[in-house]
Amino acid sequence: MSHTSILSWVTFVYFVSFLFYLLSMLRSEAFWGRIATGTALAGYVAHTLALIIRWIASYRLGIGHVPLANFYESLIFFAWAVVLLYLLIEWRTRNRSPGAFVVPCAFLAMAMASLSPGVDSRIQPLIPALQSNWLTSHVVTCFLAYAAFTVAFALGIMFFLKRGEVSKQNGLKRFRELIPHPEVLDELIYQCAVMGFILLTLGIVTGSVWAHYAWGSYWSWDPKETWSLITWLIYAALLHARLVRRWRGGPLALMAVCGFAAVLFTYFGVNLLPGLHTYLQT
C-alpha cells in the first residue's frame, strides 16, 4: 500500500475516532471513550508510518528530503502534530472530552490534504530555495506551534460551551458535564499558548536565520513573516494579560480563539497575497 493510500485511510480513521469521542460524550460511557482513544492511537501509528514511508520513498526517487516541503506535506505534518499533542494531553489529564474538539481539526487538515483538488500529493524535488539545513527546524517548529494553537483554540471553544446557558436537552447537558472544569480548561489553554508561543518564537528565529542565507535579509516584511509576527503579538498579548494582569477564563479563551484565526490566515490566507513564501501554494 502506498503512503498516500495509507494517509487516506488515516483520514477516515480520524473521522471514526471523532465519532467515537462524540458518542462517549453524548452517552457518557467510558467504553466508547476507550474505543475512541484506541482508534485515534491506531490512526496515529499508521500516520507516523506513512510519513516514514514517504520519507524513504523520496530517497528511492533520488530526490530525498524530509516530507516537509510542500503544501500537502505541511498539512499531513500539521495533522500529525495536532494528534500527537492531543494524545499527550489526554494521557496527562486523563480526560477524553477534548478529543471531540481536537481530533476533528486533525481530520479536517487530513481531508484537505487528501481531497482538495488543488493539493498535489506527489513527492516533488526540492527547488534551490528549499535546499537548506534550516528547512526541517523551521517547518517543524512552526507547525508544532500551529498545532499547539489549534489545541488551545479547541479548548477555548470547550470553555464557551461549558459556560454557555444550561440547555434543556438531556444529552447536551451530560455532554457539558463531561467537559472539564473551566479552571482546568483555563490552565490547559494557557499551557498550550505558552508552548505554541515558544515554538512560534523559535520558528520565527530559525526562519530569520534561513532568510538571511536564502534571501539576504533576516526580515523583509514578506506577508508570511508579517502575519507570523501578528500571530506572535496576539499570543504575546494573551500571555501578558494572564501573567501580568492576572486575566483568567473567558477573555483568555476568547484570545485563544482570535489567535487561531490569525494562525489560519498565516497558514492559508497568506498564500493569496503575493510574497516570497510561495512554496505552500498549490
Binding site: 516533488q124 524535488p125 534551490p128 515558544i198 516584511w221 508579517t226 504575546a236 497568506v270
Partner: protein, 462 residues
C-alpha cells in the same frame, strides 16, 4: 516637573499601553500585507483613482514598514518595554533577594499549610525519605529539628523572577540591532553577464549607484534541472579582483551566499542575454573554411578564392521560414545574391524540389561553397544581491537572549515547599505548604507527588 514626569512614567509603564501597541502594530502590519507596498505599489497606478493613490502616499500606506508612523509605534513599544522593565525590576529583585524563606515556622513568608494529614510511616523514616527526595528535586534544602518536630524547607528557580526582563532585554537588543542595520548597512543589486565585471552595485529602493572597494567578475553561470524539469541548482562562479590582481574566487548558490571583505553576495536572479547576431559558417566539400559572427553589413573574404562576402540583410523571421541572411558574393568571375536560411534542411524537407524552382534559396549556389546560418551563442547573466549588515551579530545575540529568557520564563518557576513532621507514635503528622510565582499546576503536581511518596508503604527494617 515631578508630577509631569510621574504622568509620563505612569503612562509608559502600563501594560495596557503594551497591549494597545501590540494591537496597533498588528493592525498596521495587516494593512501592510493587504496594501501593495513599495515596488508593488506602482502597479496600482492606472487601476485606481489618482486621488486614492495620493492619499496612500500621504499617509505613507504604500511603504508602511518604513514609514515614520510605524517607526514611531515601534519606538513607543521600545520605550514602553524599557520603562516597564525598569519600573518592575526593583520589585523582582526584592522578590529574588528576600524570598528565601526558612524552615522555621516563625520565618517571614512562612505560609499556612495547604495540606495536613497523618501518614503511617514513623517519623525518622519519613524525614529521611523526604530529605533525600527534596535534595534530589530541589538542590537547596534546609532540614532542622525543633524538639520532636522535623522541619523541611526546599526551593528552586529563584532566578525565574528575572526571566521576563531577559526576554525584554533580548527584544530591545534585536530592535536596536535592526535600527543600526538600517542606518549602517546597505542592500544592493547588480546583474553581470558571463565574462563581465563591475565594481558598482545599485541600492535597493533608491537605485543609487554604490562603488565597491573591489571588482567582481562573473566567470560562469550554470543551472541544472531535475528530470521533471524543476530547477535544481543556480550557480554563479565569481572572481574578486582589485585592478588586475585576482583576490579570491568562489561560487554562489541559492542558500549559500559568498562573503568577501564584509560584503555578502546572494544568488537572486538570472537570465539570458539575447544576442541578435548570428554565426555564418562556410563549408567546402564538407570542410569548414570560414566561421564568422555576422550583422547586417558585415563583410569577410572567402579563403582560397578571390571572393568577398557581404551580408545585405539579416532577418529574424523571413517569409515565416525563420532566421535568414541575404548574402552578396563578389568574385572575379561573377557576382551572386542568395538567401541563407537557418532552417534550410527542414524547409527543403517540407518543400521537395524547392531549390530547383528557387535557386535564390540555395545556400550552395556559389559552388563549391555551402553556407549555413546558426544563432550566435547567447550568454547567461546572473543577478546578485549584495549587502552588508555590520549589526548582524547584535541581532543574533538579541535573539539568543530572547529565546533563553523565554525558556527561563516558562520552564523555570520559583517553587518553594515547607514541610513539618511531628511524631505520632506509630505514624507521622504531616503538614505541607507550597508557593510558586507562575506554575500553579506544576506546584500542585509537586505537592501530590510528595504526598504520594510520604504515604507509600516503606519496607520495615529487618
Amino acid at each position: 516637573m515631578s508630577k509631569k514626569c510621574n504622568a509620563f512614567w505612569t503612562f509608559f509603564s502600563s501594560v495596557k499601553l503594551t497591549v494597545a501597541l501590540f494591537i496597533a502594530i498588528a493592525f498596521a502590519s495587516v494593512l501592510g500585507t493587504f496594501i501593495p507596498q513599495q515596488e508593488a505599489a506602482e502597479t496600482l497606478t492606472g487601476r485606481i483613482s489618482p486621488g486614492v493613490i495620493q492619499l496612500l502616499r500621504t499617509l505613507q500606506l504604500s511603504n508602511i514598514f518604513h514609514s515614520l508612523w510605524f517607526t514611531i509605534l515601534l519606538a513607543l513599544l521600545c520605550l514602553n518595554l524599557f520603562v516597564c522593565s525598569l519600573n518592575r525590576f526593583p520589585a523582582a529583585f526584592r522578590q529574588f533577594s528576600r524570598s528565601r524563606s526558612s524552615a522555621k515556622p516563625d520565618a517571614p513568608n512562612h505560609p499556612e499549610p495547604d495540606k495536613q494529614f497523618a501518614a503511617k510511616n514513623p517519623l525518622p523514616i519519613t524525614a529521611a525519605l523526604l530529605s533525600t527526595i527534596l535534595q534530589k528535586r530541589f538542590g537547596h534544602i534546609e532540614h532542622t529539628t525543633e524538639g520532636s518536630r522535623h522541619l523541611l524547607y526546599a526551593e528552586k528557580g529563584r532566578f525565574s523572577y528575572f526571566g521576563p526582563y531577559i526576554v525584554h532585554v533580548g527584544i530591545l537588543i534585536i530592535l536596536g540591532g535592526a535600527i543600526a542595520g538600517f542606518l549602517l548597512g546597505f542592500e544592493g543589486y547588480t546583474e553581470l553577464g558571463e565574462g563581465e565585471s563591475t565594481d558598482t552595485v545599485y541600492m535597493k529602493g533608491s537605485k543609487a549607484a554604490k562603488k565597491l572597494p573591489f571588482t567582481i567578475r562573473c566567470d560562469r553561470f550554470s543551472l541544472e534541472f531535475y528530470d521533471d524539469g524543476t530547477p535544481k541548482r543556480y550557480r554563479s562562479d565569481i572572481s574578486f579582483l582589485r585592478g588586475e590582481r585576482l583576490l579570491s574566487q568562489g561560487n554562489i548558490l541559492v542558500n549559500h551566499p559568498l562573503q568577501f571583505e564584509g560584503f555578502r553576495f546572494y544568488q537572486a536572479n538570472y537570465g539570458i542575454i539575447p544576442d541578435s547576431r548570428m554565426t555564418m559558417t562556410v563549408r567546402r566539400h564538407d570542410e569548414k573554411v570560414a566561421e564568422q559572427t555576422i550583422e547586417e553589413g558585415s563583410e569577410f573574404d572567402l579563403p582560397g578564392v578571390k571572393a568577398g562576402v557581404r551580408i545585405l540583410r539579416l532577418e529574424s523571421n523571413f517569409m515565416n521560414l525563420g532566421p535568414a541572411a541575404k548574402v552578396y558574393i563578389s568574385s572575379p568571375g561573377e557576382d551572386l545574391q542568395f538567401w541563407v536560411f537557418q532552417d534550410i534542411d527542414r524547409i527543403v524537407q517540407e518543400n521537395p524540389g524547392l531549390l530547383m524552382q528557387m535557386p535564390i534559396m540555395d545556400p550552395g549556389l556559389f559552388k563549391p561553397y555551402v553556407f549555413s546560418l546558426a544563432p550566435a551563442g547567447s550568454r547567461y547573466f546572473t543577478g546578485l544581491m549584495v549587502n552588508r549588515d555590520p549589526s548582524l551579530p547584535i541581532v543574533i545575540t538579541g535573539a539568543l537572549i530572547m529565546v533563553l529568557g523565554l525558556l527561563g520564563v516558562f520552564f523555570y518557576d520559583h517553587r518553594r515547599v515547607w514541610i513539618s513532621l511531628e511524631d505520632r507514635g506509630e505514624g507521622t503528622e504531616v503538614s505541607l505548604a507550597g508557593r510558586c510565582n507562575r506554575n500553579i499546576a506544576g506546584l500542585n503536581r509537586e505537592l501530590d507527588f510528595l504526598t504520594e511518596k510520604i504515604e507509600s508503604p516503606v519496607e520495615s527494617p529487618k
